[in-house]
């Protein structure tokens, strides 16, 4: 066989493929049900894959130049004086995806900013609750935001966590618990055996024993242990306050607290049907903290808060599979009491990802439904600011390329409308990522910033997007502070 013969062979295969590309229907050939045959288009044959995806290199490279002093200067309106070596100030400023407000009313978040600013003079502990779907699991996004805010405004600890976690929670803190905990969730598929709606602010509660046993029956012991994570920020590790939220214990139970494996406190907790809080002040956080519970019947545990005595606490509340439509479904009195006890000043709601692949084309229903959740939160926690974070880009495949799911922008718009119609602020994560077809660029970045499902961020990507969000947030804070300063100096 001569090389010319081989050449002829390959040319023939190419010719056949090219002919196929000309005559094959562009959107494929539907055969039986969902099965669709696809073939190259001429365009595909000649365009390299990378050219289809959003170019995010400038978005990523500019992040390192955006510093607090730049954000201050932008807030002050003095950017013309800024000279940043190696970067263009105007393009840096335009690379910050700003927080959007209803009717351009930039005072929407001021109540929160006021509370944050007052922290320097008050000894309060205020709280921001970051609710989201699986996108924020394992403290992704929240952890960086928490650390930034705590470094700036004071505060420590990982915030409110469930007694038993769904997954090996280990980024901010290593949490392990005994195997006898049962977890009940107030979102997704509900357990039909549960006849009440007391799920608490984490939308889930845990029990360690049946709830209807009597004192003469066997006792059960359960435990939960928190230890330092090597991945965590130092602020997160340094909590000095531990609070356990519970109710509905028919029988008293024994509660013990161990710090570095030494028993530091033990108490018999009396029976109650109301929301109660067990609290400990800790001088130093230690390497590990273990709580044990012993009793015949278990209370409902709504969470454990590990915070500082003052400053800001930021909770990570990931609700796998949720679209954020559960607030109205839960026991309102319990939620209200918990929000009050936790002194919540802001809710960050980051949902929508689970609604994108819903098969719907119209999202008006979702918009209204989501708006009703915000209104309910406002009712339960008057005075708290609400900030909605829109969906991230999500890809579907079109032949061999990844394209933005056609529903992403619709869901983003629905969330923005819901926020604006209820007087809440909105941050467009999709735009911040680079907009259309940006997810593949995050997935294919080196090192990768998003997971191979083209939906979730990887830890590094989550840090990047969290930094972008923090930049947008703190820029607004500076603007508020600027304004507040002027008012104080020119009363």
């Amino acid at each position: 066989m001569k090389p010319s013969g081989i050449l002829l062979f390959f040319t023939s295969v190419f010719a056949l493929l090219f002919t196929g590309a000309i005559f094959f229907p562009e959107h494929g050939l539907q055969i039986a049900g969902k099965l669709r045959l696809q073939f190259f288009s001429k365009k595909e044959l000649f365009t390299p894959e990378a050219n289809y995806y959003a170019n995010i290199s400038s978005i990523l490279s500019q992040q390192k130049y955006i510093t607090d002093s730049l954000l201050l200067a932008i807030a002050d309106g003095h950017t013309e004086e800024l000279i940043i070596p190696g970067a263009n100030t105007d393009s840096l400023i335009s690379s910050i995806t700003r927080i959007e407000y209803p009717a351009h009313d930039s005072t929407v978040l001021w109540p929160l900013f006021r509370s944050l600013r007052n922290l320097s003079s008050s000894r309060q502990l205020i709280r921001i609750m970051h609710y989201g779907d699986s996108q924020i699991e394992d403290d992704r996004i929240t952890s960086l935001l928490r650390n930034k805010l705590q470094s700036r405004f004071g505060g420590s600890g990982a915030g409110l966590v469930p007694v038993s976690q769904l997954y090996p929670y280990g980024y901010s803190m290593k949490q392990t618990s005994s195997a006898n905990w049962n977890r009940f969730t107030g979102f997704g598929k509900l357990d039909t055996a549960i006849k009440h709606r007391r799920y608490g602010t984490l939308a889930s509660y845990c029990t360690f024993a049946p709830q209807n046993r009597h004192a003469e029956q066997d006792t059960t012991t359960a435990w939960v242990k928190f230890s330092k994570s090597p991945h965590s920020y130092s602020n997160t590790k340094r909590f000095t306050q531990c609070r356990v939220f519970y109710s509905q214990n028919r029988e008293p139970f024994l509660n013990e607290l161990f710090q570095d494996n030494i028993l530091v406190d033990a108490d018999i907790v009396p029976a109650t049907t109301r929301l109660k809080v067990i609290r400990w002040k800790l001088d130093a956080p230690g390497d590990n903290l273990k709580l044990t519970f012993k009793g015949t019947s278990s209370p409902e545990f709504y969470g454990i808060a590990l915070d500082g005595q003052r400053g800001v606490a930021v909770d990570n509340i990931p609700l796998r599979g949720s679209s954020g439509l559960f607030f109205t479904r839960m026991d309102q009195q319990l939620m209200k009491e918990m929000f009050r006890e936790l002194n919540v000043k802001c809710f960050i709601l980051q949902f929508g990802g689970n609604f994108v692949p819903s098969g719907l084309h119209n999202f008006d229903g979702y918009e209204n439904w989501f708006a009703s959740q915000i209104l309910q939160l406002k009712k339960l926690c008057p005075g708290a600011s609400i900030l909605v974070i829109g969906v991230a880009d999500m890809s579907v495949k079109e032949k061999n390329r990844y394209i933005t799911d056609p529903n992403v922008e619709k869901v983003r718009d629905a969330l923005r409308n819901a926020a604006f119609n209820t007087g809440s602020a909105f941050w467009d994560m999709y735009k911040a990522m680079g907009g259309e077809n940006s997810m593949p660029s995050w997935v294919f970045a080196d090192p990768p910033l998003a997971s191979g499902d083209f939906v979730h961020f990887k830890p590094l990507g989550a840090k990047t997007i969290a930094q972008m969000f923090y930049n947008a947030f703190i820029l607004e804070y500076h603007r508020y502070e600027n304004h507040a300063r002027q008012i104080t100096s020119n009363p």
């Binding site: 001569k2 490279s61 394992d138 579907v396």
Partner: protein, 552 residues
């Protein structure tokens, strides 16, 4: 320069030239076109193939081409210098220069970040690993590489191993140095095997450079069959399960059930084989079409009956390279040599630096001292240490060769232990000589599962990833959701089962299908090949597996 010309001729880091890109086949067509005029004259042919290989390398690795050219030039002239040296010490000196320069380049690009970070943490300095080639290119060529990131030049491990084998073989007197630079350049950079192997030995390849072009009809059929087989492995199986399942599980193991993690691990074992051996199949087929025979690199590795057997079947050209240029020179399974202790110190130094804990030095010294004393007083200990130490070191270096991280140390160490334990076990195993099918199945099953288990440390993205994965498999298996998960991932699982069945299929069926393909007329080969591409495209264009997080 117009954009389309830029796309064709200039390096673009987002679009490297790889076998699975349409562009590559256009490139190959053009190469063939000129080849059909030039193939008769050997010097012209070799020079031509060297030049197109350099273009191929430039399109894949950009300006790292200079590294390739440097290695080529250096070792070509050093090879001659070794050959001409009259004295043993002269030969040794030149060989040392060649090894030092090649290994320094390899170390610089593979371990720079590790060394920089180690120095920073030891001496509290703040050095940054800077990619000088990239910053040079940014300044003079207007490119926009990230200079903070030092990606090793594409295929550096492969071509440096080839040049080392060349100079060592010349030193040992096993081959004569190549006369023409172009011939040597061609040997080092022949494009089908340049970036992912197989690693070609000078003694196997160089004689082919001086032979006339020849390709029988059977070989033509075999070459095409290899290419199609490789494309199916890489694209239809490997990429499909990676994109739709394996990658996502490994990027967040804690978010998936133990069942999904376990399936992800089995999926990865298949994927890594399909990717790697598929790529090698294509390389072998392409080389054969141009008249060059590359060595076999994979031999149904998951049919191995013990860990040692596995390493004789997996990436054979690397395993045999390590055997001939590391394991045997250290003394093989007979005794430890000075080279053994140098290698051992290097590995231990790496481990100490990785841990950043200098207390390990007295610990290691203590272990070595105790072992030394035991070896002195107990001949049995001495024999087993001598028989196995070189093997363990080879496996550990094989691990570290993949990168400076704990995970590769563990991976290499586990594989070394696997081989050593088997060596002891086979002495007492009652089934060692059994040829009963059940005994074979059991041996294959155990070996396959052990190899798959060690891959946790090879594939996981971090140490936390490995513990998350193990934690999920052991404690969060999600039994209740298994039927639901199988149903949801049915496409992925069907392809996985198909892949494993094809792998474990008897060799004679594969042989028969190759014979059939080789025998059919050329026009039918055209039709079959087009059809295979069409089928592969169905897998490439299949809808993305929607993300589902099972609650458990």
């Amino acid at each position: 320069m117009p954009d389309y010309l830029k796309q064709i001729f200039l390096f673009n880091q987002d679009a490297p030239l790889i076998f699975t890109q349409m562009y590559f086949w256009g490139f190959f067509l053009v190469v063939l076109l000129f080849y059909s005029f030039l193939y008769k004259s050997k010097p012209v042919r070799n020079t031509y193939l060297w030049l197109v290989s350099m273009f191929f390398y430039y399109k894949t690795g950009g300006l790292f081409l200079f590294i390739l050219v440097f290695c080529t030039l250096a070792d070509f002239y050093i090879g001659h210098a070794i050959y001409r040296s009259r004295t043993k010490s002269g030969k040794k000196g030149w060989l040392a220069l060649s090894l030092a320069s090649t290994l320094l380049i390899l170390a610089f690009f593979k371990y720079d970040i590790f060394f920089t970070e180690t120095i920073n943490s030891l001496f509290n300095t703040h050095f940054h690993a800077v990619n000088h080639a990239a910053s040079w290119s940014n300044i003079f060529l207007g490119t926009r590489f990230d200079i903070g990131k030092l990606l090793p030049p594409v295929g550096i491990s492969f071509f440096t191993f080839q040049t080392i084998s060349y100079t060592v073989d010349v030193y040992r007197g096993e081959i004569k140095p190549v006369d023409r630079l172009t011939d040597y350049g061609f040997f080092v950079s022949f494009f089908p095997q340049l970036v992912a192997g197989p690693i070609v030995r000078a003694s196997q390849f160089i004689p082919q450079i001086y032979r006339d072009y020849s390709l029988s009809k059977e070989e033509f059929g075999q070459a095409l069959f290899m290419i199609l087989k490789g494309l199916i492995k890489k694209l239809f199986i490997g990429d499909f399960i990676a994109v739709n399942f394996v990658d996502r599980v490994f990027s967040n193991p804690g978010s998936y059930t133990g069942f999904e993690n376990l399936m992800g691990l089995y999926g990865y074992s298949l994927q890594v084989y399909c990717d790697f051996s598929g790529y090698t199949d294509i390389a072998t087929g392409l080389a054969l079409l141009m008249g060059f025979r590359l060595p076999r690199n994979f031999n149904s590795p998951y049919k191995a009956k013990n860990v040692g057997d596995f390493w004789k079947r997996w990436h054979i050209s690397l395993s045999s390279w390590l055997k001939d240029y590391l394991y045997i020179p250290m003394g093989g399974n007979r005794s430890a040599s000075v080279f053994t202790y140098i290698s051992l110190s290097l590995v231990l130094a790496f481990v100490v630096l990785l841990s950043g804990n200098f207390l390990l030095i007295p610990l290691f010294s203590g272990i070595i001292l105790v072992t030394g004393i035991l070896m002195y007083f107990f001949p049995a200990v001495r024999t087993s240490v001598h028989n196995n130490i070189n093997l363990m070191i080879t496996m550990l270096i094989g691990g570290l060769w993949h990168g400076a991280s704990w995970m590769f140390v563990i991976w290499g160490g586990l594989n070394g232990l696997g081989v050593v334990i088997y060596k002891f076990w086979k002495k007492i195993s009652p089934w060692e000589t059994s040829d009963h099918w059940a005994s074979d199945v059991l041996k294959i099953f155990i070996t396959f599962n052990f190899i798959t288990f060690t891959r946790i440390w090879f594939r996981a993205e971090s140490m936390k990833g490995t513990t998350d994965l193990l934690n999920q498999v052991l404690f969060q298996f999600g039994w209740s959701a298994v039927p639901e998960m199988i149903l949801a991932y049915r496409n992925v699982f069907v392809i996985m089962i198909l892949g494993y069945i094809l792998h474990w299929l008897s060799g004679s069926i594969k042989e028969k299908s190759m014979k059939w393909f080789t025998a059919i007329p050329v026009y039918q080969k055209v039709i079959v090949s087009t059809f295979v591409v069409f089928v592969i495209y169905q897998s490439v264009s299949a809808d993305l597996q929607p993300f589902i997080y099972f609650r458990f």
